[in-house]
């Protein structure tokens, strides 16, 4: 399959720290856009997608510790309880790091099914904490993990392309 060949080549390629940091910041920005009403329910968790992407393709660089730290910032940005996003992203990063070899072998369609499970787990942990502390549940919250899963393929293609572009520019 042509695509999986190209991915397996790209895994080896280096990526700069600035690019990783910028992608995470951009994801935080996208999460912070003025989503309202039904769009807030459907909002994909961009930070989770980007973190999972880096945990899959650069598990030595972006791991559980960094995801936890980003989670703390997400907690401050969303004014959720300290550790709520951090716990969810810790599990997400664990899933990404454990499954990174398998995900790298797969093509995008197979990846999407695998990634769906990780997102459901992440969302479930977040919702469970909320349920424990506040005592009620908003089920529409789980729509977000569907949209996040759907965005996995486009976002990973985009990030791959941007890495490729940076590579080409550096070579010149």
């Amino acid at each position: 399959m042509p695509y999986s060949d190209s991915t397996s080549q790209q895994i080896q390629r280096p990526v700069s720290n600035t690019f990783i940091v910028l992608s995470v910041l951009a994801a935080l920005l996208l999460n912070g856009l003025p989503w309202e009403g039904i769009w807030l329910m459907l909002r994909p968790d961009f930070v989770a997608i980007v973190l999972l992407y880096w945990c899959t393709y650069k598990p030595q660089r972006v791991g559980i510790g960094l995801s936890w730290a980003v989670g703390i910032f997400a907690d401050v940005a969303d004014a959720s309880l300290f550790g709520q996003h951090a716990l969810a992203y810790t599990l997400l990063a664990f899933g990404g790091v454990i499954l990174h070899r398998r995900l790298q072998m797969f093509d995008l369609r197979q990846q999407t099914t695998q990634v769906f499970g990780i997102f459901v787990l992440t969302y479930a942990v977040y919702a469970l904490v909320h349920w424990q502390v506040n005592g009620y549940m908003v089920w529409a919250f789980f729509l977000g993990c569907l949209t996040s899963t759907l965005l996995w393929a486009p976002l990973s293609i985009m990030l791959q392309a941007m890495r490729q572009m940076r590579m080409d520019r550096d070579r010149i």
Binding site: L30, G63, I64, G65, A77, D78, G83, L87, F94, V133
Partner: protein, 307 residues
């Protein structure tokens, strides 16, 4: 004991993912517990918020720009119309205001005669909504006045029509307002028509409010206005909160199901007023009851409330 059959590690990669997972998960749970129970971490949160706020400001830029351009492109015709309308409304309100002042004078005199405490005035501070919180579970907005603007936790926030919410968290330059539609947010109110006192609760997932624990036979009608009763010492009395939308009286249940809609533009307005300078209510006499309890023992009954 070193196992020689294990594969040799060329690179030291630190602890395994499982160890890291357990470490960070326990750390998160610890933070969660401390934050949910004791609220020790507010200063850390406000420090970190200084780092995060540039991103948030940047995220609100598109909508702010959109609003500015649309307000710039308003036609002159529309402005003239609006000006005329506002002028008319101003004249009408001015007439009503003079009447109101006369009534206030009269009320003050009557209260003096009856030796009742004066109704105190409150001052208001204007603030602007920066953004609504991006959390499905919560109904909160952030406004652009914080600890530097002398905003304190618990202050009441209203718009030009009625109560919007209450300040629940204060950052250096921002503060979070929990809206009255937040799940289980309670406001003590009374029915304007007959003075019936009750408490209105937020529904959480919709922009509605509900009156719980109202007997089926209680005198309440659709369209009734609910205003703050002011007996809690937090909300000033007489400010509109909600209008009764629907009443279901099912004899099978002891309480009627009453849904209300907030009168203030809880989800729509941009400018809000923070109320301050509310009078401190005298402390409820707890010590006397506590002191009187032990010597009388169980024979002493609780004093029934007079209301």
């Amino acid at each position: 004991m070193i196992d020689n059959t294990q594969s040799f590690q060329f690179f030291n990669r630190g602890p395994s993912p499982a160890v890291r997972l357990v470490f960070f998960a326990v750390l998160s749970l610890l933070l969660l517990f401390v934050d949910a129970r004791y609220r020790y971490l507010e200063s850390t949160r406000s420090t970190l918020s200084v780092l995060v706020s540039p991103i948030q400001q940047l995220a609100t830029m598109p909508s702010v720009l959109w609003q500015q351009t649309s307000s710039f492109l308003v036609t002159q015709h529309k402005l003239v119309d609006e000006n005329k309308l506002l002028h008319q409304r101003h004249q009408r309100d001015a007439a009503q205001l003079s009447q109101f002042q006369a009534l206030q004078q009269e009320n003050q005199q009557l209260r003096n005669l009856l030796a009742l405490a004066q109704r105190s005035e409150f001052t208001a501070q204007l603030a602007e909504i920066v953004y609504a919180e991006r959390d499905v579970f919560k109904r909160r907005v952030l406004i652009n006045k914080g600890a530097n603007g002398n905003v304190r936790i618990g202050q009441v926030v209203m718009d030009d029509i009625g109560i919007v919410g209450q300040i629940t968290r204060v950052y250096p330059w921002l503060s979070a307002v929990t809206l009255i539609t937040e799940k289980d947010h309670a406001v003590p109110v009374q029915v304007l028509r007959n003075g019936l006192r009750t408490i209105v609760f937020g529904a959480g997932d919709t922009s509605q409010l509900s009156l719980r624990y109202m007997p089926v036979s209680s005198d309440i009608q659709e369209g009734d206005m609910l205003v703050t009763s002011g007996i809690d010492g937090i909300y000033p009395p007489g400010i509109p909160v909600a209008r009764v939308e629907k009443i279901e009286r099912d004899p099978a249940y002891p309480f009627a199901r009453i849904t209300c809609l907030p009168v203030a533009g809880v989800d729509s307005h941009r400018h809000l007023l923070i109320l301050s300078g509310l009078p401190e209510l005298p402390e409820p006499p707890v010590e006397q009851a506590a002191a009187a309890k032990p010597d009388k023992g169980k024979s002493r009954r609780k004093i029934p409330e007079t209301h």
